[in-house]
């Protein structure tokens, strides 16, 4: 048996309720390793271009990696991928928690789901066994009820469940997949793809221990990593306040996304920052499998209007900003309540916040009126309007039916100039970061194959001054200047993106790993060696990361995406109206040049297509025909 992984990929066809197991060889595993790279492999192999994302022809992949489930902090993540109903491009989204490791313990490294079940089902995978179970009694339930039911039906209290809520069943293109109530494959509408296949959940339970190639070395690395987590400043902060600390940091630096991405400073920031959070709604810290960081928050509040239950996970930075500053809402219990509602119903909080802020700005400008909203005002700053809109969207009711389609399609339906306020990239609403204050992150938003995405590349700001020492292992020595868009920035992005994508391919949490957090490049290589027994290197793992990016690009190229879609939003080309970055914008021509330079530096042609030479270099000759489409 291999070390660190099972050597088994489960293929399920829901149409005829059949399944089979594939056992790829070691060279294959070393080439595609897991997560986003492994998922892209199966999508490219099994999907033709132009397939309707909500048809049975779409293919859905749950992908752990060869190291998921190893007993090291952050080695818990898995990817869910399919063609996205939100963007029509590659859909892909990672989550931590316990589901990924449990799937490995249950005997499989990944699941490839095809077809559509004739009626609602869920997959129950336990100790190598696979059951396609009837989910009639689960359909219509929220994520909490679903988890409880599956626990009861399986008789396994520790069963780990990745499920969808009513939003996924209703095919809302930004419905998410959730595991164990607190962890989310939030983006690109993978919940809707599950819904379209009548797949309510995937449940896993396993008692297999993963064999480590060198158990003693893994133990030593675990101790080193966890000791460092206790003193390494970014991890100290995460352990103490989770990601909520970002509200203050970003507001102070003038890049807290506010008023539908118009502003960088939020007047109510103090009311939603980490201090207020921990004084008013914080209940306890929580974590993912085997992780010493404990960045997850739980919140509770006995309040008639905004009751909070600690079982549902506390809002993290992205959600606080999405439902908070982006909508000018400074009522933290209401924001946390919105988070809880989205989690129960199965909506991605980032897209949901983006859609609500869009609707509020349309309302502000008379494009939407009370005639469109059942006579209800939906002004910026109205916390109860924000909560009302979440319910309307999840139920696809009234204005919610239009908004449930995401800002791009909603603007097309509304017309009347609404597209002016519809902020998306490739059809996906933006995570809560302002590219004007970190242009490398802006490049990441523009170039991410999934549309606007914040886990594409590290944030420039961390590598200013001597902060650049975190990138020395990659050969980057010039301090990064967050506001500049030039050749130096492209070099930072090319290498930074590869470093970041290591984490998405190997299923490792950015909050534990390179380049910012406690894991270092050399110890990461040692860890992968100790787990798998492979003679690997930083060179090797960076090539895996690049392979994942190139496969994703080929997928999008064949769906018709090109340089025109590698862009940022109008507002980032307009001067920041106020705050420390007043007057700052991204020069459109300089940005276009940077994207073109990225193509060249990456071995892509001017149409953004990876060249024949690049495909050959990455052992992707099998994509030569696909790549030239």
């Amino acid at each position: 048996m291999p070390n660190g992984y099972n050597g088994k990929i489960l293929h399920v066809n829901l149409t005829d309720a059949s399944w089979e197991v594939e056992e790829p060889n070691e060279a294959w595993y070393r080439t595609y390793v897991g997560g986003s790279a492994l998922a892209a492999y199966y999508l490219l192999k099994n999907l033709k271009a132009d397939v309707d994302p909500l048809s049975p022809e779409n293919v859905l992949v749950f992908a752990c990696s060869v190291v998921t489930g190893a007993p090291l902090s952050g080695f818990s993540r898995y990817t869910v991928a399919a063609k996205s109903p939100l963007t029509g491009a590659l859909g892909r989204t990672e989550a931590g928690g316990y589901f990924g490791p449990e799937l490995k313990f249950a005997g499989y490294d990944a699941i490839v789901v095809k077809g559509k079940a004739p009626k609602p089902v869920y997959l129950y995978i336990h100790d190598g066994e696979v059951e396609i179970r009837d989910a009639a009694s689960l359909w219509g339930l929220d994520n909490w009820e679903t988890l409880e039911q599956i626990r009861e039906q399986s008789g396994e209290k520790m069963v780990r469940v990745a499920s969808i809520g009513p939003a996924g069943e209703r095919l809302i293109p930004y419905a998410c997949v959730q595991n164990d109530l607190e962890h989310f494959n939030g983006r690109t509408g993978m919940g809707a793809v599950m819904g379209s296949k009548n797949l309510k959940a995937v449940a896993a339970r396993g008692r297999n221990k993963l064999e480590m190639a060198d158990p003693e070395a893994v133990k030593t690395l675990r101790k080193w990593h966890n000791d460092r987590i206790k003193v390494h400043p970014p991890n100290v902060g995460l352990s103490k306040v989770g990601t909520t600390g970002l509200i203050k940091g970003l507001n102070d630096t003038g890049i807290l996304t506010t008023h539908n991405f118009r502003d960088g400073v939020f007047e109510g920031a103090d009311k939603i920052n980490h201090e207020t959070y921990h004084k008013t709604i914080f209940d306890s810290a929580s974590t993912c499998y085997s992780c010493a960081v404990r960045c997850k928050r739980r919140v509770s509040l006995e309040d008639e209007k905004y009751p909070l239950n600690k079982l549902h996970g506390g809002a993290e930075y992205e959600t606080i900003a999405a439902l908070g500053s982006l909508c000018d809402v400074d009522n933290l219990p209401a924001i946390a309540c919105g988070n809880q509602l989205c989690n129960l119903l199965g909506l991605d909080t980032i897209s949901t916040g983006g859609v609500i802020a869009f609707a509020m700005e349309c309302f502000e400008n008379g494009i939407l009126t009370e005639a469109d909203t059942d006579g209800r005002s939906i002004s910026f700053g109205d916390a109860d309007a924000m909560l009302w809109l979440i319910e309307e969207i999840a139920n696809r009711r009234g204005i919610g039916e239009i908004l449930s389609q995401g800002v791009k399609k909603a603007a097309e339906i509304i017309g009347r100039g609404a597209e002016k306020y519809a902020f998306h990239i490739k059809g996906q609403e933006l995570p809560l970061h302002d590219g004007r204050g970190k242009t490398g992150m802006g490049m990441g938003f523009a170039l991410s194959p999934t549309g606007a995405e914040h886990v594409e590349t590290p944030h420039d700001v961390a590598f200013q001054g001597e902060g650049v020492s975190k990138l020395h292992a990659l050969g980057i020595f010039d301090p990064v200047k967050p506001l500049e868009t030039n050749a130096e920035k492209v070099r930072f992005f090319v290498h930074g993106q590869k470093a970041w994508q290591i984490n998405n391919c190997y299923g490792i949490c950015n909050f534990c790993s390179v380049p910012i957090h406690a894991m270092t490049f050399d110890k990461l290589v040692e860890s992968i060696r100790a787990i798998t027994g492979w003679d690997t290197s930083l060179f090797d793992i960076l090539k895996v990361s690049e392979r994942g990016t190139v496969m994703a690009r080929v997928f999008n190229n064949r769906e018709g995406f090109g340089p025109d879609e590698d862009r940022v939003i109008r507002r980032w080309h307009e001067p920041m109206p106020d705050g420390p970055l007043k007057g700052v914008s991204i020069d459109p021509e300089a940005f276009k040049d940077a994207i073109r330079l990225y193509y060249e530096a990456s071995g892509w042609d001017q149409n953004g297509k990876p060249t024949r030479g690049k495909l050959v270099e990455l052992n992707l000759e099998w994509l030569l025909d696909e790549g030239s489409r």
């Binding site: 390494h232 400043p233 600390g245 203050k248 630096t253 970061h433 204050g437 700001v461 950015n510 700052v584």
Partner: protein, 75 residues
């Protein structure tokens, strides 16, 4: 002893160009420096001392350069 502090809290001020010299007692640690500057440890995301990753308890030396960057990324 004297240390040089580069604090990137306000990006546009380009603090990189205007480092601040701070007088400290011998044997002072990074934590002491932050107290003197009135900066909460919770607000620091990235901390580098003379080119190397550092901790809040690390002792400083004369002429060290301390780079402080707030929490600004992730999600």
């Amino acid at each position: 002893m004297k240390v040089l502090v580069k604090h990137f809290a306000a990006l546009k001020q380009d603090a990189d160009q205007r480092p601040m010299e701070v007088d400290l007692d011998t044997e002072a640690a990074v934590g002491d420096l932050l107290s003197k500057l009135g900066i909460e440890q919770d607000d620091i995301g990235i901390l580098v001392v003379s080119g190397k990753q550092a901790t809040f308890s690390q002792k400083l030396k004369d002429n060290d350069t301390v780079t402080l960057i707030p929490h600004i990324g992730g999600g």
